[in-house]
Amino acid sequence: MITIIEVRNLIKRFGHKQVLRKLNFSVQQGEFVALLGSNGAGKTTLLRTLSSLSKPNYGEIQIAGYYLPGQSAQVRKKLGVVSHLPLLYGDLNAEENLKFYGRLYGLSDFQNHIEEILQLVGLLKRKKDLVRTFSRGMQQRLAIGRAIIHDPEVLLLDEPHTGLDQDAANMLDTLLQEIASRGRTVVMTSHDFPRVANLATRFDVLYKGIIHSSKFAKDLPQHGLLAYYQSIVDEIDAGGENQDAA
């Protein structure tokens, strides 16, 4: 197994608030990791830091053999990122959006490649339609298409299910499984527990800026994801109170 993401003692502050507190995190190639945590736990911050959009205050980040923030250009080539905003231009059509990002990633002769990606995300028929006419689900699928245009080794997704209805979310899951089956590493944050339970191969609990526990899917009891998460959080809270008392 090759370690593709390695984070050591990561600290990220916003003003006086320490959002990530000496966080350690590592992901093996080909894993599908779900980061579980409530709002404000630091999930988005962790993903933004991993995606090189936000610089760490302290700590070491290594992705696909390159360090952040020093070698961010190399890291960016290996990363695909899907955030809760679509990162797409409403006044361009689906094809043009992909073309634009393809150029930014330095791809050439990508016409066939773009068709393939549109096929994969199920938007080939809508390729000439403006993105602002798309539904939220279609935008999200195109956002994933945009994120994988340069065939990245690691895909980072921040709450990709937000705002999607059942059908759209199901389509998204199928798409993610398809990408994962190609041997790509996926790190995803979510609080839609039933959904991630069927997707991910590993579950990490992020609570108050630290990753507290990590469990493989095979070690989880059936439908036990929520119970697992709750038990970890309760344990930490109880521990925290004891510390305060002492």
Binding site: R48, S51, S52, L53, S54, K55, A73, Q74, R76, K77, L79, V81, S83, L85, P86, L87, L88, Y89, G90, D91, L92, E96, F100, Y101, R103, L104, Y105, G106, L130, R146
Partner: protein, 227 residues
């Protein structure tokens, strides 16, 4: 791949993207244009322009129009990047940040020039006097370059602020003044029919200011977008 080619590729990708999007919606240019015409009309009534006073005022009115319309365009052009998180999308790409800066600047420059190219003949028709000349076009080319160089930088800061709707003109107008003065002076000289040699100083100044403003914006742009 050579880094140099990817720099220009990314830069032109940004320009291409802005032009395609604008060609489709024409929101930015039409807004700038209507606004520019309104400014001219407001000046007409506010100053009660008559042919005598007009020739002295034309250069000033022209530049105020261009600057106000340009301000509108700059704000809009950066807001588009910010609203759907596209700025993050640009920053996630493995390209030099300055390629993004130059791409946006060139696109903004093109939009300003298009607006100027439409305003000039309209102004000429409205006041029944031909103000279009190669020298004046050169002044507009140089003046608006300096304007968008700093304007694109400050607009990318302004859109990230809470008070973004009111911030850009306040940030931009006081620092852009040297370019504006030189541009107005050069234009006024041209419109009054002075020979080019008399206006050489102003042209030189415009070029110097353009170089200074562009290089400073180029150097600090990283700090404006990197977190």
């Amino acid at each position: 791949m050579q880094p140099k080619t990817s720099f220009f590729k990314a830069m032109f990708a940004v320009v291409w993207k802005d032009l395609i999007a604008e060609l489709r919606g024409k929101e930015l240019i039409s807004a700038m244009l209507v606004f520019a015409l309104l400014v001219i009309f407001i000046f007409n009534f506010a100053l009660e322009l008559d042919p005598k006073t007009r020739s002295a005022l034309t250069a000033g009115i022209l530049w105020v129009t261009i600057i106000f319309a340009g301000n509108l365009g700059l704000n809009r052009s950066m807001a588009v990047e910010k609203d759907r998180g596209c700025l993050d999308g640009l920053l996630l790409a493995p390209v030099d940040r300055t390629a993004i800066y130059f791409g946006k600047s060139i696109a903004n420059w093109i939009f300003m020039l298009i607006v100027a190219m439409i305003v000039l003949p309209i102004y000429s028709i409205l006041y029944n006097t031909n103000i279009i000349s190669p020298a004046l076009l050169l002044v507009i080319l140089l003046g608006s370059e300096g304007y968008v160089a700093i304007g694109t930088l400050l607009a990318s800061m302004a859109v990230q602020a809470r008070t973004r709707d009111i911030l850009l003109p306040i940030l931009l107008f006081p620092v852009i003044l040297p370019v504006l003065i030189a541009a107005v002076k050069a234009s006024a000289g041209i419109l009054s029919g002075f020979p080019f040699s008399d206006l050489q100083t102003w042209f030189n100044l415009l070029i110097v200011y353009d170089i200074i403003f562009t290089s400073v914006a180029f150097m600090v742009f990283d700090s404006v977008v990197e977190e």
